[in-house]
């Protein structure tokens, strides 16, 4: 499972980005997306396009954690969202590892842009060992929802602390290394 986490300001400006992989079931915490390295913009495209869904879901749902709101089927990327009272949005893209069998079938399709062609060799050993009960296996399962909720909650706590810093003005990019390391730690802990 690979993750791409973004904090967006109310005007859609990204305040914070981080990409990481799962640390559960032997994962090494390094993100391996299905797109080739030249197509990392895909994550941003997918996140950006899911803002449509966030805008809709935020009026339909009273909670801060909006759960899994969007899917991008060609790359099987799943988006979960979290709203803060100030209007900043936390978006987490998670992508289950590609199984070797599906990789073989998908490589027939052309167009790496759609996430079809990612070599199976790049898969880490850890991800292939992931058992069916782990978070990585099923992105829409209740366990995953719960894990993402915990993660979001912890990040939110840290976000509030960071934003309250006297040197931070609203709308600024978050450059705090402490915050980054805390997010990484939360990722290790829950995802």
């Amino acid at each position: 499972m690979s993750y791409y986490f973004t904090i967006l300001s109310p005007t859609d400006v990204p305040l914070f980005n981080i990409a990481f992989g799962t640390s559960k079931s032997g994962g090494d915490g390094i993100a391996r997306f299905r797109f080739p390295d030249t197509a990392q913009y895909m994550n941003q495209f997918i996140i950006h396009s899911s803002l449509d869904m966030v805008e809709e879901a935020q009026w339909m749902n009273g909670n801060m954690y909006l759960k899994h709101i969007d899917t991008y089927p060609p790359a099987s990327a799943y988006i979960s969202a979290f709203l803060t009272p100030s209007g900043a949005r936390f978006l987490l893209l998670h992508q289950p590892p590609q199984l070797p069998s599906t990789a073989a079938s998908a490589s027939g399709t052309s167009g790496s842009i759609l996430g079809g062609s990612f070599s199976a060799s790049a898969l880490g050993g850890g991800s292939s060992r992931a058992s069916a009960s782990s978070v990585a296996a099923n992105p829409t399962s209740p366990q995953t929802e719960e894990a993402v909720r915990q993660f979001m909650g912890e990040v939110y706590e840290n976000y509030v602390k960071t934003v309250m810093s006297p040197f931070y003005r609203q709308g600024m990019e978050i450059r705090s290394s402490v915050f980054r390391s805390r997010v990484t730690a939360a990722g290790r802990k829950w995802l």
Partner: protein, 739 residues
């Protein structure tokens, strides 16, 4: 969303200032858009003459026009983007376009009428310049029956249709084509792609922009290339056992007045269709309607003789007769009353590829043959009479009879019980594992893979198809539903897939079931099963593609939440590799159109899918660029800009840096390729500079659209004065271009 474009009243783009109502209602939209294009052109000319101030209203696409000024006139007529930029807003696209696509889909399932003419008739027609004989002469006229046609459905309600048609096929070809296909050179899908390539090829050469001018005038929404694709896809089908749409519903048996022994030859022709070489295979019902036509030669033969013969025919064969009076002389263009034969709409891909090459190469005097106007009138009257008085009543009658005799027996309590007991028959005699044989009715010929035409399953399917072709979708849907379990029990997978597919399609078409969410879910299930059966169990890619494409289009035309479903099926198509490279581009554009069709919640600025639509347009542009079609790429990119205009802040820059980089690179690449394709030296500094200079003006266009859409949205009325300043100051917002 705070809105940059609202500054537009401060500085309206020149071409829109006078006479165009500012508060545009939805209905007025299309006209306005179409108006705008010519004036845009005019404006371009002006701006080129008075060049020093950068022109405000122009698009990225006009860049080749201005940089290659000597060639301008010819370029303008063929530059696709200008036409495409008149493409309607998603709102009118949804209404007008979807109706058109819907009609296209409905018309593609029209009854097939076989044509079998005697040698002397074919000879007569060949004299008129139709090498294919009588069939070729009447074929184009069957596709659209003039006037309204009233059809009664199973509950006795009448409905009239403007766009009914039948398909004429040569009776002989009908049987050959499946075998020819199985022995065939390449798959029909490859042919479809080839046709597209060819069409694109003719499109790209600067003088022969044959497709887009049409778009410019009459078709505001769907790209004509996609429509061509859809039409090709829907006309692949030849007669197959698992569906009866291509089985003859009736057959026209024609003789001419030259025949020496007319009644004898009619008998012989009839016998041929029954057990001669025109006999249909075992899976086609041979009891179709026979219609007898006497072709009278106006130029050479005596009408009194023919009338006498015709009276005799009526006495022998009953009502299904017609006297068709044709002139046998060849008609040339210079004749007073010459009329060009209309073009066939439903040519199959292989026909388009192999059959009609020569006429396309020649000039248009030779392209389509001409006939006398009197002949056209006669043929039209004949076709109308054939369809309105014989074919449709015959089909209505058959549907009623089968519904009575076969379907109602199955629908009733006892029928359910019977099929149930049949299904569990194997349970008593053996173990559960022998269920395979237990449920089967035994009517299915496993070795050859078809039901005989008189098996109840085949009759029911035919009845459902008849009902479908008569546009009684409710009856069709309920009958397909009956059939689904039967086919599954018999493991007749292709039939199974077909029943599921048509069940979903008829549910989507039937007007009563306007979409609740539950229904959409049910339909998704049906489609899932159908595509799985087609692809995995039968590996029948063309049918799977047809099924999913139909589903996507019909779901899209539903609007609302169904469009998400539509987009998902389109993604599935791309994902499973059902389409080739050109198809990938077209489907990306289609997904974008699907998302764009989702309109915002009334009065709010959320609920639409503009970002998703924009994203897929960008992907489409990328795909087109890789295929070496910069003009299409540029059109898609422009579409993306239009879609993104609402959601991007201020200067139209993307907030995310990597996205911005990608789009800038893409834009640049498209531009370079476009210029190269037009034979311009891209290393020329001035040209490149000009290219860069035009970009920001494309933003201006977007702003204007943005503004209009804001007018529709009363809650969205934030005007930021700083934006107005920026609009005035063209040189200021350059960070957008220079990445």
């Amino acid at each position: 969303m705070t809105s940059p474009g609202d500054a537009a009243p401060v500085k309206p783009p020149p071409s829109f200032s006078p006479g165009v109502p500012r508060v545009a209602s939805k209905t007025r939209y299309p006209n306005q858009r179409r108006d705008s294009s010519p004036s845009l052109n005019a404006d371009l000319v002006n701006s080129r003459v008075a060049s020093p101030p950068p022109p405000l209203s122009s698009t990225t696409s006009d860049l080749p026009i201005r940089s290659a000024s000597p060639l301008t006139p010819s370029f303008r007529s063929s530059t696709p983007q200008l036409a495409r930029s008149s493409l309607g807003s998603p709102v009118d696209g949804r209404f007008e376009g979807s109706e058109e696509i819907r009609s296209l889909i409905i018309r593609s399932f029209s009854p097939v009428v076989g044509v079998y003419a005697s040698a002397d008739t074919d000879e007569l027609v060949r004299q008129k310049g139709f090498a294919g004989g009588f069939w070729e002469l009447i074929r184009p006229f069957g596709e659209n029956i003039p006037g309204k046609l009233v059809i009664r459905d199973s509950v006795g309600a009448s409905r009239s249709w403007e766009d009914y048609g039948v398909r004429f096929v040569g009776l002989g070809n009908n049987n050959q084509s499946p075998s020819e296909l199985s022995a065939g050179r390449s798959s029909p899908l490859a042919h479809v792609e080839e046709v597209l390539e060819k069409q694109l090829g003719s499109l790209d050469d600067p003088l022969g922009g044959s497709l887009y001018p049409k778009d410019f005038l009459g078709f505001p929404s769907t790209s004509p290339l996609y429509k061509l694709y859809l039409r090709q896809l829907l006309s692949i089908a030849s007669a197959t056992p698992h569906e009866t749409f291509r089985h003859p519903v009736a057959s026209v048996i024609a003789i001419s007045s030259r025949n020496s022994a007319p009644l004898e030859s009619l008998r012989r022709l009839y016998a041929d269709t029954n057990n001669g070489d025109k006999k249909v295979p075992d899976w086609i019902n041979p009891e179709y309607l026979r219609y007898y036509v006497l072709v009278h030669d106006e130029d050479r033969d005596d009408i009194t003789e023919s009338t006498k013969l015709y009276d005799q025919m009526k006495r022998h064969f009953g009502l299904h007769c017609h006297l068709l009076r044709l002139r046998s002389n060849q008609c040339v263009v210079t004749d007073d009353d010459s009329v060009q034969v209309p073009e066939c709409e439903w040519l199959s891909p292989s026909e388009r590829l192999f059959g009609r090459t020569e006429p396309l190469v020649d000039l248009d005097t030779e392209g389509l043959p001409h006939v006398f106007e009197s002949d056209v009138m006669a043929i039209k009257a004949f076709v109308r009479e054939l369809v309105a008085q014989s074919v449709v009543p015959y089909m209505e009658n058959r549907v009623a009879v089968w519904n009575d005799q076969v379907a109602s027996r199955r629908r009733g309590i006892s029928g359910r019980f019977m099929s149930m007991s049949r299904r569990w028959a194997g349970f008593g005699s053996g173990s559960r594992s022998s269920l395979t044989s237990g449920g089967a009715s035994g009517n299915y010929d496993v070795a050859h893979g078809y039901y005989r035409y008189d098996a109840p399953e085949a009759v029911l399917r035919k009845m459902a198809d008849f009902a479908f072709m008569l546009r009684d979708w409710k009856l069709a849907a309920s009958t397909y539903e009956l059939l689904r379990s039967d086919y599954a029990n018999d493991k007749a997978w292709k039939y199974h897939a077909g029943a599921y597919e048509m069940s979903a399609v008829s549910l989507l078409l039937s007007p009563s079931s306007t979409g609740t969410k539950v229904k959409i879910d049910g339909i998704d299930q049906l489609l899932e099963t159908a595509s799985y059966s087609y692809l995995t169990r039968c590996s029948d890619a063309p049918n799977a593609l047809r099924c999913l494409t139909l589903a996507m289009e019909l779901l899209k035309s539903r609007g609302g939440s169904a469009v998400e479903s539509a987009a998902r099926w389109a993604m599935r198509v791309m994902d499973q590799g059902l389409v080739g490279s050109t198809g990938q581009g077209l489907f990306s554009e289609r997904i974008s159109a699907c998302y764009a069709a989702r309109s915002a919640v009334p009065g709010m600025n959320w609920g639409s899918r503009r970002r998703k639509a924009g994203m897929w347009s960008v992907f489409a542009a990328d795909l087109w660029l890789r295929l070496g079609r910069p003009s299409l790429a540029s059109a898609a990119l422009e579409e993306a800009e239009r879609l993104y205009a609402d959601v991007l802040q201020g200067d139209g820059a993307f907030p995310m840096p990597e996205m911005q980089t990608f789009i800038d690179n893409l834009r640049h690449a498209v531009k370079v390729e476009y210029l190269e394709a037009r034979g311009l030296d891209t290393r020329d500094e001035a040209a490149t500079a000009a290219a860069l200079g035009t970009e920001e003006t494309s933003e201006q266009l977007d702003r204007r659209k943005n503004r209009k859409s804001l007018i529709m949205n009363p809650l969205d009325s934030g005007i930021s004065p700083t934006q107005g300043m920026r609009d005035n100051d063209n040189a200021a917002d350059d960070d957008f271009e220079r990445a």
